[in-house]
Amino acid sequence: MKLNLKIWRQEDAKTKGEFKNYQLDEVHGDMSFLEMLDVLNNELIENGKEEPIEFDHDCREGICGMCSLQINGEAHGPDRGITTCQLHMRKFKDGDTIVIEPFRANAFPVVKDLAVDRSAFDRIQQAGGFISVNTSGNTQDANSIPIEKENADLAFNAATCIGCGACVAACKNASAMLFTSAKVSQYALLPQGEIEATDRVLNMVAQMDKEGFGNCTNTGACEVECPKGISLENIARLNREYLAASLKG
């Protein structure tokens, strides 16, 4: 199929960007979206007129969270439960125009073209997204802490967040609540996380605010666009944990 691509080009964080139009003539339905961009890039390199388009990607199997892209107004494109690398071109039709933009949020400055800097997420995690146990191995036996299966499963579901930033990109407020709540929830649901629960949630939310993300207005867009289907329940849990922690001081 033939496709028209409208792609955001930006030299670096300081330079102003703009859209440029490209055409691809032979795109197959079995190609992934990123393979389509690979083809375009190789054409650009061989033509030698323009530099290839920079975008982030790594594992190409939907787990590392490195790929991003706002495709036709949706984070990771029109399909559900996947990342851009798992989006296949059979989702598009011959002659389609596809608008490709970076994930946009002030907390995610553009690095170049479609690549953005998501280190704000790392800093939120560093503020408290851990359990303070030494990694010396001198811990108690793993089975000495039985955990209710339901909670273990909920904790796992929250922990499957890949930190891709689609929640921020899809949110009209560029809020990072789904991301933050997933980590807070994982530990809140496990007995191991209880001891530091108060400081964790206060510190992580403080860092989240400091990074300049917007507020959650419960539109639910994040949950829909999340490649891992992280539930809004986690945001409710975060709110609850935060209230409890605030009252405790």
């Binding site: 409208k6 955001w8 859209f19 706002q70 036709n72 107004g73 949706e74 029109p78 608008v99 933009e101 946009r104 949020a105 002030n106 907390a107 899809a170 009209k172 407020n173 560029a174 809020s175 206060l202 939310v205 403080a206 989240m208 605010d209 300049g212 993300f213 917007g214 507020n215 959650c216 207005t217 419960n218 539109t219 639910g220 867009a221 829909v224 666009e225 809004l232 329940e233 945001i235 409710a236 849990r237 975060l238 709110n239 609850r240 944990e241 935060y242 209230l243 922690a245 605030s246 001081g249």
Partner: protein, 225 residues
Amino acid sequence: MGGIKSSIARKVAMALSGLFLVLFLAQHFTINFTSVVSPDTFNEISQFMGTNFLVQAVLQPILIFGVIFHFVMGFILEARNRSARSIGYAKFDGNANSPWVSRNMLISGIVVLAFLGLHFYDFWVHEMQVKYLQGDMSGLNEAGEFRYYEETVAKFAGQPIRVAIYVFSFIFLMLHLLHGFASSFQTMGVNNKYSKGIRTFTKAFAIVIPMGFVFIAIFHYLNNL
């Protein structure tokens, strides 16, 4: 203490003030509805509400504060949210992942706010004038009867434009509540086996109450053609 500076604390404050306004709305509707059923009851309650010290000196300022707080906080949050993405998307398909009402609380809120202006002008300003500037706390008209019912009806009778504005505004109030009421529970961290029931209740409330107000306005209009 996170204080009111943190995003979540602000949201909770927003939710709490919203819930308070929802309660007020329920109360307001109940009283208004009596105007359809029994003008006398309506008059009595109106007189009570209009002259009771607790209502006037305590609840009324709280209510006014609640309204102002809710919309000021709303604007603060909105401003922060907008500044979180200074370069917008060329294409943003919000309908693909979220309902229109949830993304446009500002619009529905502004319509409701504008309506409140008209509504205050219609009723509250007049009441304040009569009661506190003129000092007439009797609630009686020249004929010596309670004036409330008659004054209320007069606002709608033969006033198709006002009725239309009311209908329009209450549709936006409905949209505002459809998202806001349910959302406030999520913000307060409620998420348990009752959540589904709460959601159903809030949606029903969001439709029934504003439509009830619409019904009252149209009722009085039609009744006096």
